[in-house]
């Protein structure tokens, strides 16, 4: 094989050609500042509102509830810091989980340093939050629950509707980081009782540097980025028109093809998981078997380390990830894998495969073959495997 086999769509996706084409006129021709008064800029205002409708539609919201941001991270920051500030007279307690993205975790840690109290719910071995734990954690002072819709590493999809109902019954606002979910699983903010929801463009074949925050009508939310009167005075800064247009186009395409693509990718994923588990010993799959993103497979291979595995896959033109893209380069294994109870040495040997709309069964076969060889090779090099084999030999004797 000669071309790259990209299997890291949870890290980022290519921007679709149609999306780039939709964006292009807004760079050079229709480049006006949407806040300007002349007609030339009016078209940009309209383009923004069309995108807003498309984003709203994708999650069952009203377009007036959608605010554009610079990405998933800003959306998470805004939701959490904004609610913390707007509702501080009501309380100072926030509930989240141990397996959130760093955009949520680090924001919560920041709040902890500033007088807020944060409860980090643990998850079970499959990465699921126990609704009873959530119920137990809610107290008088709880102002926000932030639980991600789908995990970016192990792909586990939470029972959001049930969790949302608990939040609602307790009168606590409910935020969900849906960055990995939108375009992959159906979402309806009303049915799921979601008050705030974060989306990112580049995870669904849209451009980078654009995202949105859904804020249910009636919710007080302090501005996070102060400036001009954009986004109904709630988010300052000249609107990123090309990116907003691309985001709208991308989310429209994603929703249109979601049912078919999810099915197709889930089939590939299941084939991959089945084959890997069958052909490679001392291997496990992380995340929930059933409640999982259609495009996510996360394996742990005992006795080997993830980075070596990634580099060897890269040498075979396969792009994948070990834990979150953000954490690679750091020494600690992923907090998500530790969060589901994996021991450090197993967590270090993890591999995340996240599929996209261009991946094929042939690529899965190539990946499986490559994995068999590479895992064997790395085990041959591993002192842990040597020790294990010697122990086994002793036992057999």
């Amino acid at each position: 094989m000669n071309k790259k086999i990209y299997l890291d769509h949870a890290a980022t996706t290519p921007t679709k050609i149609e999306v780039v084409e939709a964006m292009l006129p807004y760079f050079t021709e229709k480049f006006g500042n949407p806040s300007s008064i002349y007609e030339f800029s009016g078209q940009n205002k309209e383009a923004i509102e069309e995108s807003r409708e498309l984003v709203a539609k994708a999650i069952g919201a009203n377009e007036r509830e959608i605010f554009f941001t610079s990405g998933g991270t800003e959306s998470d920051n805004w939701a959490i810091l904004g609610i913390a500030e707007s509702y501080k007279t009501k309380g100072n307690h926030i509930i989240t989980t141990t397996i959130e993205h760093h955009a949520v975790l680090h924001t919560c840690e920041y709040l902890e340093k500033n007088g807020y109290e944060v409860t980090y719910l643990e998850v079970d071995k499959d990465g699921l939050v126990n609704p009873d734990d959530l119920k137990d954690a809610i107290k008088e002072t709880t102002i926000l629950i932030s639980i991600m819709l789908a995990n970016n590493e192990i792909g586990t999809v939470q029972p959001i509707e049930e969790l949302g109902a608990i939040a609602k019954a307790s009168g606590v606002l409910f935020h969900t980081d849906a960055v990995q979910g939108v375009g992959h699983v159906p979402i309806d903010v009303n049915a799921m009782h979601i008050d705030l929801l974060s989306i990112s463009g580049h995870k669904l074949y849209g451009p980078k540097g654009i995202g949105a925050l859904y804020v249910r009508k009636g919710i007080k939310l302090k501005s996070f980025i102060h400036g001009g009167g954009q986004e109904k005075k709630r988010r300052g800064g000249t609107e990123n028109v090309p990116a907003i247009v691309g985001f709208g186009k991308a989310i429209e395409l994603a929703i249109t093809s979601m049912e078919a693509e999810s099915k197709r990718q889930a089939d590939l994923r299941d084939y991959l998981i089945e084959q890997v588990l069958e052909k490679i010993p001392h291997c496990r799959i992380n995340g929930h078997k059933e409640y999982r993103l259609p495009n996510n497979a996360n394996f742990s291979f005992e006795f080997i380390e993830g980075e070596s595995l990634l580099i060897m896959l890269d040498m075979k033109d396969i792009c994948a990830s070990s834990g979150s893209a953000c954490t690679s380069g750091s020494l600690d294994p992923s907090h998500v894998l530790l969060g589901i109870g994996l021991p450090h040495e197993i967590a270090h040997g993890s591999l995340r495969i996240s599929l996209g709309d261009q991946n094929t069964k042939e690529e899965m076969d190539y990946l499986i073959e490559s994995l068999i060889v590479i895992v064997a090779r790395l085990r041959e090099m591993s002192p842990l495997y040597e020790d294990y084999m010697k122990k086994q030999a002793k036992i057999e004797r």
Partner: protein, 144 residues
């Protein structure tokens, strides 16, 4: 991210494997941090006649152990004592800052193997300190 030399030693590690009845074996690191290195020495007349390694760890961990074995092969024990992490790093044309600890681990693994050799043979190697005992699994309880 890695230099060509690092990539070469990762892709084609020199002296990978084990030596049965080695003169000295040293294992350092721990799985919690994601790096374990083991070095085997075959020493005859104070000369390192053969050396092998096994490594669990990242690309830099593999490359530094490979390079460390290359640097000591055929050398005297005294010369081997001079193979520091800096020497390993230089021989690899450098490492990313976050990976410097791998070169330290390679130095430690080598010294642990030499310590084992010295102990087995009841000799003292000047400047050599006793390595920390190797524990495959973490001592402390999981924090999570």
């Amino acid at each position: 991210m890695y230099t060509k030399k690092v990539m070469d030693h990762f892709q084609n590690p020199r002296n990978m494997g084990e030596i049965e009845d080695a003169s000295g074996v040293g294992t350092v690191g721990n799985a919690k941090c994601g790096d374990i290195m083991r070095i085997y020495l075959d020493i005859e007349d104070e000369i390192i006649k053969d050396v092998k390694f096994k490594t669990f760890g990242c690309g830099a961990a593999v490359a530094t152990s490979s390079m460390a074995t290359e640097l000591v092969k055929g050398k005297t024990v005294k010369e081997a004592m001079e193979v520091t992490n800096k020497a390993v790093m230089e021989a690899l044309d450098g490492l990313p800052r976050a990976k410097v600890h791998c070169s330290l681990l390679a130095e430690e693994a080598l010294q642990a193997a030499l310590w084992d050799y010295a102990k087995k043979n009841g000799i003292v190697i000047e400047g050599l300190e006793e390595p920390k005992p190797f524990e495959e699994h973490e001592e402390e309880e999981e924090e999570f």
